[in-house]
Amino acid sequence: MIDLSVNIGGLRLKNPVMPASGTFAEELTHLLDFNSLGALVTKTITSEKRTGNPMPRVCELADGMMNAIGIPSKGADLFIEKVVPFYRDFDSPLIVSISAPSAQGFADLAARLSDVPGVAGIEANISCPNLEAHGESFGMHADTTRQVVKLMRASTSLPLWVKLTPNAGDIVDIALSAQDEGADAVVVGNTLLGLSIDIEKGRARLGNFMGGISGAMIKPLMVRLTYQCAQSLQIPVIGCGGISTADDALEFIYAGASAVQVGTATFIHPKTMNLMVNELEVFCRRKGISRLSSLIGILDDSLAAAFGALP
C-alpha cells in the first residue's frame, strides 16, 4: 500500500492533487470522484456580488490560454447558504478561495467563514491579475501582502494559504512576508499577466485587455518559482501552473512542492485529476517508494550549487 498523503501546515491531505481555484465547481461531480482528491478548492468568492469582466473573457494560445474572467461572485451569503452545504457530502477538505478590495475585507470574510461548518481552510487570492489595471494586486508587493496576511491571521484560526503571483519581481521576498505573518502555506501561483493581440482588428483579444496566461506554456517558470520559494521557506509550498499529468506534478514535487493544483487541464480533460492520482501511485510503485511525501524537494541541485548556478 503506497501512502500518497501529504501534510500542509497541519492539514493532512490523502494525496497531493487538488483543483486550482476557478477551475472547479459542483458540476464536476458527474465526471470526477471528489473523494479521491486531496482537497477541494472553490472559485474565489467575495463578500459582495460581482459581475466579472466584459467579453470575451478567454482566448486560446498555442499551448495554453489567457483569461480575464474577473471573479464574478454571487456573494458570501449565497455561497455559505448554497455551496458549502453541497461540499459537506465529501470527505476531502474544502478550501475556500477569497478575495476582497482591502486587507480588512480579507480578514472580515475569513472570520465569517471560520464559523461555517465544512470550511477546512482559506486560500487568500491576493494575486488575481484581472481586477486592477496592469495586473496590480496585493500580492505584487511584500508590504501589502504582509498587511493582508497579518489581519487574516488575527481573524481566523483556520489553515491559511496565500496564493502568490508570478508577476511580482521578487516572489521569494513576498512569500517570506506571508510566512512571517503566519500563513500556513503558499500557493505558487496564480496566472502570468499577458497581452494577446488580434492583428486584423488591431485590438486585444480579451475584453479586459490584459489577462492571465495558464496552461502547459507556463510550467517551467512556475516550477522555477516553486523551487526558489521552497528553498527559502519553512512552510509548505503548493505548486501550480501547467500541470496536466503526474509527470508534471512530480516536477513540482521534486522542486519542493508538498502538493499541487491542477487548473487549465481540467477544462480540456475534466477527469485529469483522478487519473493523475492513479498515475502518481503507479509511479511510486515503479520506483519502489512507499511514501510519496519522501519525494518532496528531492531534486538533485548539488552540481548547480557546486559551480555557483544557485543563489
Binding site: G22, T23, F24, A25, E27, L28, H30, L31, K43, T51, G52, M55, P56, R57, V58, E60, L61, A62, D63, G64, M65, N67, I69, P72, G215, T266, F267, I268, H269, P270, K271
Partner: protein, 277 residues
C-alpha cells in the same frame, strides 16, 4: 412575462460523461456542410434536442485548437447508440473534424446544457432555421413528432441547393417552407409575413430559432405580441462547457432585472422573453 416560460415536459437529463466515440462516417452533405456520425454509447446518445457536446477536435497541420469546441447535437439515438453532428468547416476546430475518417476516435464531453422544453399540450410549433442553426433545431422534428405536436419548419438558405434537412422534417410530417436569398424570399419582412400567416392558420403555440440575431429579434417580438411561447438556442464562446469557467456568461432580463447566466449550463436554450435585443 409572456408565454409559457417554465413548464413543461419532464425530461430525464442524463449527466454528462467524456465518451471516446468512434467515427462511423464523416461525409459532405452539400458543398458547405459535413455530417459526422459517431458510435457513442452510454450517456452521449441520450442527448436531448438543444443539448450540446464539447468536442476534443483533432489537430490538423497548423490548426491546433487548445480548447474543446462546443457543438449542438444534430441527432442522438439511444437505441443505436449513435450521435451525429452537422458542421461547416470554418476554423481551427472544424478543420480537424473534417479530417476524421471511419474508425478514428474522438472524445466528446456531454450531453451538456439545458435543451428545448416542449409542452405536450401544444397543438403546433414553428421553427425558423438558417445556416448551422439548423443543426441545433433539427432534433425538434423527432421531438415534436413524438409528442404529436404539428410542426412547420421555415428553412432559410442562400439557394435551393444549400437547403439542409428538408427531408428529415418532411418525412416526419412537418410542413416545410423554404425561403431563399437568391429569390429574395428570405428577407426579414417576408419571413414575418409568412410567420404571421402560419401562426394564424395553424394556431401555433410556440416559436423556435437558433443562431441569427435578426431572426431572434423578430421571433422575440412576435412571441411577445402574440403571447406565444418562444425559445432560442444561443451560441457563445465556451471553454469547459460545464459551468466552471464563467467565460460564456450573457446578460438576460428576468422579472425586469438584468442577470448574468452561463450559456453552457443555464442554456444554451433560453426563453425568448428573457433574451436581450
Amino acid at each position: 412575462m409572456t408565454g409559457i416560460s417554465s413548464c413543461c415536459q419532464a425530461i430525464a437529463i442524463t449527466p454528462p460523461n467524456d465518451t471516446l466515440a468512434v467515427v462511423l462516417s464523416n461525409e459532405w452533405v452539400n458543398d458547405e456542410y459535413k455530417r459526422l456520425v459517431l458510435q457513442a454509447d452510454g450517456a452521449a446518445c441520450h442527448s436531448q434536442p438543444g443539448q450540446f457536446f464539447n468536442l476534443l477536435c483533432p489537430s490538423e497541420g497548423e490548426h491546433k485548437p487548445f480548447f474543446r469546441r462546443p457543438m449542438s447535437t444534430y441527432k442522438a439515438d439511444p437505441v443505436t447508440g449513435q450521435v451525429e453532428f452537422l458542421y461547416k468547416v470554418t476554423g481551427k476546430g472544424t478543420f480537424g473534424l473534417e479530417t476524421l475518417v471511419e474508425r478514428q476516435t474522438l472524445e466528446i464531453l456531454g450531453p451538456l446544457g439545458k435543451g428545448f422544453n416542449l409542452d405536450p399540450n401544444w397543438q403546433h410549433m414553428t421553427i425558423v432555421a438558417r445556416g448551422v442553426g439548423l443543426a441545433t433545431l433539427a432534433p425538434l422534428a423527432e421531438a415534436a413528432h413524438a409528442l404529436g405536436i404539428k410542426l412547420t419548419a421555415v428553412l432559410s438558405a442562400r439557394s435551393e441547393k444549400s437547403l439542409l434537412s428538408r427531408e428529415r422534417f418532411a418525412s416526419l410530417g412537418a410542413e416545410v417552407i423554404s425561403v431563399l436569398d437568391e429569390d429574395g424570399s428570405s428577407s426579414l419582412e417576408n419571413i414575418e409575413t409568412l410567420l404571421r400567416k402560419v401562426i394564424a392558420d395553424q394556431g401555433s403555440n410556440a416559436l423556435f430559432t437558433c443562431g441569427s440575431k435578426r431572426l431572434t429579434r423578430l421571433l422575440k417580438r412576435l412571441s411577445s405580441e402574440l403571447d406565444l411561447a418562444g425559445q432560442v438556442a444561443l451560441e457563445q464562446q465556451m471553454v469547459c462547457g460545464l459551468g466552471m469557467c464563467q467565460c460564456c456568461v450573457d446578460v438576460f432580463e428576468v422579472d425586469g432585472l438584468k442577470v448574468g447566466k452561463r450559456v453552457c449550463l443555464e442554456g444554451p436554450v433560453f426563453d425568448l422573453a428573457e433574451v436581450l435585443e
